[in-house]
């Protein structure tokens, strides 16, 4: 699902990632851990094409990041969904409209997309709030809307950047159980966090510890490591 070889990335003269090599298979659950500024977010941004891959080689969901043209990035993003700590939802639009947005851009027929959105909202306990503007929801509910939008398209890969960062412990645990549900259905998940407590929620997950842009340690043997 993800293959990176000798990937480096810098913001000007500041190196954010240095010589990262990584292989993640279909259906894996990977935790990216490490202190702030370790490169977790940069790595996630690289994986969904928000920043270009200039050094090293990488493929994600079958897309070669090195040769991926700007005009085709949207195709990668149709396979890779992202959940952010700050939700990135449209507060003035309803829960339904926010979730349906991901299907609208794929030009899915309305009847079909309605069915899928309702099913996902039901699964995330949001069906009763479908027609409420997101601005009126609590932080935990807004995070669930962001997850609903990410999973409604049935992505091959789900990236989550500190999804529990703004939530209390109880909500964070509830959110993890939602991620586990989708993981159980075969979705590959990469979740960046520095909340050590949630690592225990997925005992068989791979853990990659980044520090200063380099792989500090992992809990598995990386065959492709440099």
């Amino acid at each position: 699902m993800i293959s990176l070889r000798h990937v480096s990335f810098s913001f000007g003269t500041q190196w954010a990632l240095k010589n990262i090599s990584l292989e993640i298979g279909k259906g894996d659950f990977l935790f990216l851990v490490g202190p702030s500024g370790a490169g977790k977010t940069t790595l996630l941004r690289l994986l969904h094409g928000a920043i270009p891959l200039k050094r090293g080689q990488g493929t994600v969901a079958g897309f070669d990041l090195h040769t991926l043209k700007a005009g085709r990035i949207h195709l990668l993003r149709r396979e890779v969904s992202v959940v952010f700590q700050d939700f990135k939802i449209l507060p003035e639009r309803t829960v339904f409209a926010n979730v349906a947005l991901a299907l609208d851009v794929r030009n899915m027929p309305r009847t079909h997309s309605e069915r899928r959105v309702r099913a996902v909202l039901r699964g995330l306990d949001l069906e009763a709030k479908a027609h409420i503007p997101c601005a009126q929801l609590s932080g935990g509910e807004q995070q669930r809307v962001a997850i609903a939008r990410a999973v409604v398209v049935g992505p091959q890969l789900l990236l989550a950047d500190e999804p529990t960062g703004n939530l209390d412990r109880e909500l964070a645990m509830r959110l993890m159980s939602i991620f586990l549900q989708f993981h159980a259905h075969g979705t590959t998940i990469v979740l960046a966090t520095h909340n050590q407590e949630i690592l225990a929620c997925v005992p068989d997950a791979k853990i990659l510890h980044l520090e200063d842009g380099t792989v500090h340690w992992t809990n598995w043997t990386m065959h492709a490591a440099s």
């Binding site: 990035i73 949207h74 993003r77 449209l90 639009r93 947005l101 991901a102 851009v105 030009n107």
Partner: protein
Amino acid sequence: MFRIVLKLMLQGVTDIRHHPWIQVLTLAAVTLVAFLGGLFLLVLHNLDQELQRAGGDIQFQVYWQPDTGQDALQSQWAALRELEDLAEIKTFTGDQALDLLMQRLGGTGDFAWLRGNNPLPATALLTFAIQVDDQQAWAEATYLQLASLEGVEKVSFNPLQLDLARGWARFSNQVIWPLILFLGVVLALVVGNTIKLSQLHRRNEVEILRLVGAARWYIQLPMLVSGAVLGLLGGVLALLMLKGVQLSLQDLLHFPPLWLRLEYLPFSQAMAFLAVIVVMGVLSSWVALRET
């Protein structure tokens, strides 16, 4: 595909409701700026018209020999009516000229006894509204053309009028049109910037659309349509406000000796004015998209 494009264009119109206050304020700003620009354009247009009326015309007086036959006169007058840039022609036979003379003298003189031996020649007063750059060459060529007509005895024209026309053309070329162009640029920049700022407010929405895999055109089309709609609405409202101003002020200066009547913008200028605002709406939305 056509259905999707249509849907996205409609979405561009309906998206306006998502941030109603921002859109209303943007529309108000675009309308007021366009109205101010339009007002200036209206004044320049009327000034242009008035100056053209007052100084842009050149008159030639053509006199025929007394023995020129009526048939020859009529055919030459018919040919003269077809001349390019001719604004007005007044023709008089010798007898008509005599009648006019008597009329102007207010009946104090009786020249009826001259009917059989009228010394007044047939004449034509031609008024041209010229549009050419080299008026001197044009006047000389027209003079020669008129003087070469069969039976023409004399052609006269007032060179002062030519100087006035030339002066006006220079003034028009060097002041009015550059002013209109400058106004167009200012209007375009202010309208464009206003719409661009309102579109930048949708940065969050654009970012989310990109995140969920929207193709570039899927994001661009509704925003470009929104920009065009804002420009169109603002431009139409400004034109309506200008019409209101023109109707309420049209007779304000219509008294002696000015006799000025405020005219509305001609259709072509009104459409060009609207087009500039719509195009700026689209362009500024495109720039805003590139900056998000």
